[in-house]
């Protein structure tokens, strides 16, 4: 399967009468974008704003961040199952705009957790999105629409905006073409390189809002999915999106998947990228064991891997889950490199492990995402909510988006951490 991602580096965004791109400047007709978003009957109205680094703006109630992308050579093929028709993602040509992100807010969210982004000050300094030119969209619910259904509508509005903007850059010269070309089944290959697979724990149902899982895979949820093999290009090219909350992970992060891109970068040089096994964290111990055995078997006996990188989704229970996958892999002789996020900021690093198995002797700290920082901001504007929007903290205190200083767990500042390995962060004892 071969995917070409053709990137254009956007230097600025202007509001204008026509949506198009010229000389690395993206011009957006906000009215046209609004009409596009309002085609979804679940959405009554939408606030759209362009925000720039340095603006005294705080964007709250973030549900997702998306990079503008569209297929160049296929029709109605973007984010299949979410927006486009169902097809297998990951082949052909895709246009991607760099330096721009779509910030998707659900202003009336009832979720406990929701992320934010500041466009100036420490919050902007820490976030990759704080340095980009962004389009903030905040849809409002139409009468009679159910809460969870509306969340899906907000998500899809973000994806639609992404496609709309990328389509508008048609004809613009490309700054870089990345080629992702991999034939997974070549077990017979004449390569002596070690075969490295990737185990992608992509969801955990433990926080399911109202007991319903977020759709994140070809338009559906994956709660009951058995471990399965997918092609890494499906992940990079819209088959997989973020969840309905940002906890160190959003669609942008998936589109630029750290581990997958790294394995591709080294494929044929010092390793052979043996493929991706996709799994879900499990609440029930028997199901967990069954799925861990299945995952390890796919990694060893179907993909023929010598080693596997294992990443985890946010939370404690998923930590136990990936450890079991790792243990089963090691039992079969597959060497593991397993990610953790220390869930506390006290103690030693060893104290933060939720497993204890000598075979799991290579542990990568992807970031202590509950670490807290104080964000001072005298905001001129608050988008996606109001100054009275409650901002989550795990302590029994109330704080609001308009407070002069708020305390944030870093996982809820969009674009600081990256559970998929793309951030230059490590956890150390101090």
């Amino acid at each position: 399967m071969r995917l070409e991602i053709e990137s254009i580096d956007i230097k600025d965004i202007h509001v204008g009468s026509k949506t198009c791109a010229e000389d690395r400047v993206l011009q957006v007709n906000l009215k046209e974008l609004e009409e596009l978003i309002l085609k979804d009957s679940r959405i009554k109205s939408v606030d759209i704003n362009v925000v720039y680094p340095g603006d005294r703006v705080r964007i709250v109630n973030l549900l997702d961040v998306v990079q503008p992308r569209c297929k160049i050579d296929q029709f109605e093929a973007d984010f299949p199952g979410f927006v486009g028709r169902l097809r297998t993602a990951g082949s052909g040509r895709t246009r991607s705009l760099r330096g721009v992100a779509i910030l998707v807010s659900n202003p009336l969210t009832k979720r406990k957790y929701s992320a934010l982004l500041d466009m100036t000050g420490l919050g902007a300094e820490l976030s990759r999105y704080g340095k980009m030119k962004n389009i903030s969209i905040a849809p409002y619910i139409s009468d009679g629409t159910e809460e969870r259904d509306f969340e899906d509508a907000v998500k899809i509005a973000g994806l639609r905006t992404a496609i709309y903007l990328a389509l508008a850059a048609e004809g613009h010269p490309t700054d870089e073409v990345e080629v992702y070309d991999l034939d997974i089944p070549s077990l017979e290959g004449d390569s002596d390189l070690p075969r490295v697979a990737y185990y992608y724990q992509m969801y955990s149902p433990q926080h399911d809002h109202r007991g319903i899982s977020d759709p994140c895979f070809y338009g559906t949820d994956v709660r009951h999915l058995m471990p399965t093999i997918i092609h890494p290009n499906e992940v990079l090219d819209g088959g997989v999106v973020g969840h309905h909350t940002i906890r160190s992970l959003d669609t942008y992060t998936v589109q630029n998947h750290g581990v997958i891109k790294e394995l591709y970068r080294r494929h044929g040089k010092d390793l052979f990228f043996a493929g991706v096994v996709f799994g879900v964290a499990n609440i029930d111990p028997i199901i967990r064991k069954r799925k861990a055995l299945m995952a390890a078997n796919l990694i060893k006996n179907v993909l023929g891997a010598d080693g596997v990188v294992i990443t985890k989704i946010h939370g404690g229970m998923p930590h136990v889950d990936v450890a079991l996958v790792g243990e089963e892999c090691e039992k079969l002789g597959v060497k593991t490199s397993i990610y953790t996020q220390p869930l506390v900021s006290v103690g030693t690093l060893g104290d933060t492990l939720l497993f204890n198995n000598e075979a799991l002797d290579l542990i990568i700290t992807v970031g202590a995402t509950f670490e807290r920082v104080k964000l001072p901001l005298e905001a001129d504007r608050i988008l996606g909510g109001t100054a009275k929007t409650k901002v989550f903290l795990a302590d029994p205190v109330d704080q609001y988006a308009g407070d002069p200083v708020i305390e944030m767990e870093e996982m809820l500042i969009a674009g600081v951490h990256d559970h998929l390995g793309g951030a230059n962060i490590i956890v150390k004892e101090y």
């Binding site: 490199s337 870093e410 962060i425 956890v427």
Partner: protein
Amino acid sequence: MPKKNLTVVHYLNQFFGQVGAEDKADVGFVVKDGPIGPGVALQKELGGRAEVIATIICGDNYFSKSPEEAGEEGLKLIEPYQPDLFFAGPAFEAGRYGVSCGAICKAVGEKLAIPVITGMSEENPGVEMYRKNAFICKTGISARDMVHSLQGMTKLAFKLVSGEREMNLVSRENLPKPHEYGYFHRLILRNEYTEKTAAERSVDKLLSKIKGEPFESEVVLPNLERVEPPPPIKDPSACEIALVSDGGLVPKGNPDGLSGRGNLRWTTYEIDDFLPEDFKSSDYEIAHTGYFPDEVLGNPSRLVPVDVMRDLVKEGKIGQLHPTFFCTSGNATVSGRCAEMGDEIGAEMKKRDIHAVIFTST
């Protein structure tokens, strides 16, 4: 106007404070103006930027008999000086002296909120006891390492008062790197920027592991204590059984202030009031952010099985349900504190003569 020098108070034991040797180890606190003994060397390292204005001296035995109390006593003598910096020792390998240095640093650091710096060798018991409370520089085992140790302590002290933002930390706090500044880490974890992404590091190290080459894990596995399960109770119908849960079920308003994550507290509720048979879901909330709580709020007995316990008591299968429910929130709480809470709850249960306990979690 030239900037005012930083003021320093220095703590020494009776030996380094020139009061006397082991025969003077029972001597109580003495205050002297200016630097004494190692303080003179410290002053030299501090140069013109800081001045040792007083030295507090105490006998090793006197101090180490009850270190926390002695720390408070010492603090009272130090407070009037309102120093900008506090140094203790270094104590090298000396155990009582190390504990004294740690305890007085703890008292001063907590009360005056100034940098407190001491020095010890790795084996000194003061390191494990007080590493959380002080910057403890790594030293050699004896006073032969004095000048070198004081140089390290001074360098660290100046870094701490510099007010610099550490751009290498996500939090931007002014926290010196333990290995760069030669101190024992203080049991806190911080996100640090690295040259390589987690993805790059994980693949690099995995390839080394596959090839059988040396590799370095970013977390070293701890040696965990094995807890043997106790023998089962013989006759439940003769037992009083208590309920404990870490699911964070609390009365609406969370009156005891349990945290939803990283909670450090436990509390108790009387079951007859807290979970009556005609309970109302709206009377509860969940101080726990690790799960979606609708099922538990719908019927709290799903977490704290009071309904079943009441039935079993009626049926005579269980002697008695202990009237108090022991409640905490266990979500990313550091394991050391979990063990302490277990000891505390266990001690309380022993006092109450409870025979058996049912733990329920989420």
